[in-house]
Symmetry: none
Amino acid sequence: MPPTSKSSSNPPAKRGGGKGERTRARILGSATEVFAESGYSAARVADIAQAAEVAHGTFYTYFDSKRDVFKALADDVVDEIFAALKGGPNLGSTPLERIHNANARYIDLYGSHAVILALIEQVATSDAEFLGTRLDLRRRFIARVERAVKRMIETGQATGIDGLDPHIVANALGGMIDNFCYAWFVLKEPFEKEAALHTLDTIWANALGLQRPAKG
Amino acid sequence: MPPTSKSSSNPPAKRGGGKGERTRARILGSATEVFAESGYSAARVADIAQAAEVAHGTFYTYFDSKRDVFKALADDVVDEIFAALKGGPNLGSTPLERIHNANARYIDLYGSHAVILALIEQVATSDAEFLGTRLDLRRRFIARVERAVKRMIETGQATGIDGLDPHIVANALGGMIDNFCYAWFVLKEPFEKEAALHTLDTIWANALGLQRPAKG
Amino acid sequence: MPPTSKSSSNPPAKRGGGKGERTRARILGSATEVFAESGYSAARVADIAQAAEVAHGTFYTYFDSKRDVFKALADDVVDEIFAALKGGPNLGSTPLERIHNANARYIDLYGSHAVILALIEQVATSDAEFLGTRLDLRRRFIARVERAVKRMIETGQATGIDGLDPHIVANALGGMIDNFCYAWFVLKEPFEKEAALHTLDTIWANALGLQRPAKG
Amino acid sequence: MPPTSKSSSNPPAKRGGGKGERTRARILGSATEVFAESGYSAARVADIAQAAEVAHGTFYTYFDSKRDVFKALADDVVDEIFAALKGGPNLGSTPLERIHNANARYIDLYGSHAVILALIEQVATSDAEFLGTRLDLRRRFIARVERAVKRMIETGQATGIDGLDPHIVANALGGMIDNFCYAWFVLKEPFEKEAALHTLDTIWANALGLQRPAKG
DNA sequence: AATGAATGAGAATTCATTCAT
DNA sequence: TATGAATGAATTCTCATTCAT
């Protein structure tokens, strides 16, 4: 996970171990906390600065506005997720293994970025750019699922969804994972990881009509 | 718990067909539009009043605050959804028919209230009461799904999820419908109703391992 | 002098004898005072509001910004001056009388608007629109002088400036009046009106080489 | 009164060709540019420093404040102009020649310092000291003109302004030159030097009623 | 001396809410 | 009840100046 972030428009130092860079990082951290605590709209720049233990004005040494810190935060998360979604096919010798790995990866990814993901959702309501981000995020994920579903149909591995539109199937099954993560990590519904994963895997397998290899 | 909107604390007329009631309704309508357009935080009372073609001050003749109109709007939706969720079991002679009817009902319900539902989500971020509302809404829906799943297991209709926790299954399958509706009605992803419903029904049936009655 | 002013972009009332209009007028008056006292940059909206005895926020009910009040003020003055400059030729049976009347008019006009004129000058330094205003004001005045000078040359009334460019002559003589007014009304150099006018008239007459009619 | 800049209160080097002195000069130069570009109030110390290619903080190694650089700049100009105005009588064997030389000198002086002169004007609006400077500048110039006018009246060289107050005449004719320079160098109205000078000389001569020596 | 990060005192602006008519 | 002017608290953002290194 590289500490990328490329949106801050007000960089006093050229990144590195300098004092400025540490302050910037502290502000980013505080911003995440404050946004998580109060939501985007209710968060005040003054609070972020205070949480970062810098003067109010110092915030503006590093970021142009509240939106700008948020964009920095969001860009980092989006980059990382896109990178993960672009990564090669999921490993595994059976379709079920590959589904399991994909679900596990998505859950981990979501879990690490749940706060920012939920915030992007929120902000998207009144900011066209983030609405785009939000849609993009979903579409790329669904597209990946859709490709996998098509492949499984073509190779005869999925036999339960003949005649269904893979795009709709992908939206349903992808959305299932997404929503589950949302409930789990954003709404904080308590789930036990092993059981949750196993359940989701099974539902996928059943839904697609996977040819169950003699397993255990 | 009165069945309809209970939050407006400033009722100038005693409800009915009076002029006051019509004005109040107009403000509620404009509020929905303005909230939908700008999001809750960015929406301005002045805009709502203007859209309702009343003076800025008149807004406060009917509602105590911006939050108050929103609560009136949300309460109506929440009441209606709760009523629907409390309603008797879904009709249908086969499990698949009952699932189909439940899904169709949920989709219709979501579709009619998508705007407010999305707004409740937003507001929940910084308002404890609406956070409660939001959780309640999900939990009641999931609980209903959970009851149905349990019943199908107990009656031997669902054979594919032996050993899985019905609570997790319900969260997954219920969340699938919820997320699909979200993509469809909030994010405006275009889906064709017949195909979508049929796909969702099939995935449920497959996932649960429904004993397919010889159908058509 | 009509109380025109057309730039305020935030009009709560449609002008008239209403309360709003009176408040607006009071703010315009206070703005003039505060600008005169502190200069444009140093003037604070809070001071203008306080001087007008309204709440700080009330200022924004009538004007969008500090610049906006200033524009309202400037536009009024500019309109009036343009109207005066567009007015028919100066009356008088002899060239000297006409010059005298023109000078007297200009002095009166400048005197009534000295504060705003000086402010426009100031603001022009860092605001392109007002720089345009300022140039326009000068050019229209000079153009008028230039036409008069040309006419006097053509009719043989001015015999002292043969071979000179009337445009330069107009800039010099027009500028002389302008600068005199500036010293008088802005820098507050004390001059006695009769003497000043007579001196300026005489210099014009001499400079142009007016055929002195046997006068007194 | 030391002959050169006396205001910088923060001299790191003892003036001379040292590095410090060169840096100081660079800052003064950048300050002129930035002030000219944006006006005094809108000019930012950060911009001046950047234009001088020094760190923001370095500015304060050489000057105490934004006002302080400006004062250094203004003092240099004021000193030079005062020196010129104090200089001996203008050379020339005829009054017209002397007027011509005086006008030419003033125009050159104004031309070289137009930027700072215009800025002093601006700053005078909200700074008592510079208001004094501004008045002083004008009064000294007018006083010199007044002395010349009186001399020409007394020696019978000026016959056109009998009975007029030489103080008013000086304000008018001196102001004419001043305003012309203002239009030319500050407002950037394009004038051709030869023609402009000749026109101004002629107007002076005519206005004063100079006895035209048989010329050329 | 030089650097540039940090400071914090303003100043502008917004907008929910109140209130006199 | 309806109106819309008035209020002022809350927030953002700016930038001259200071200061540790």
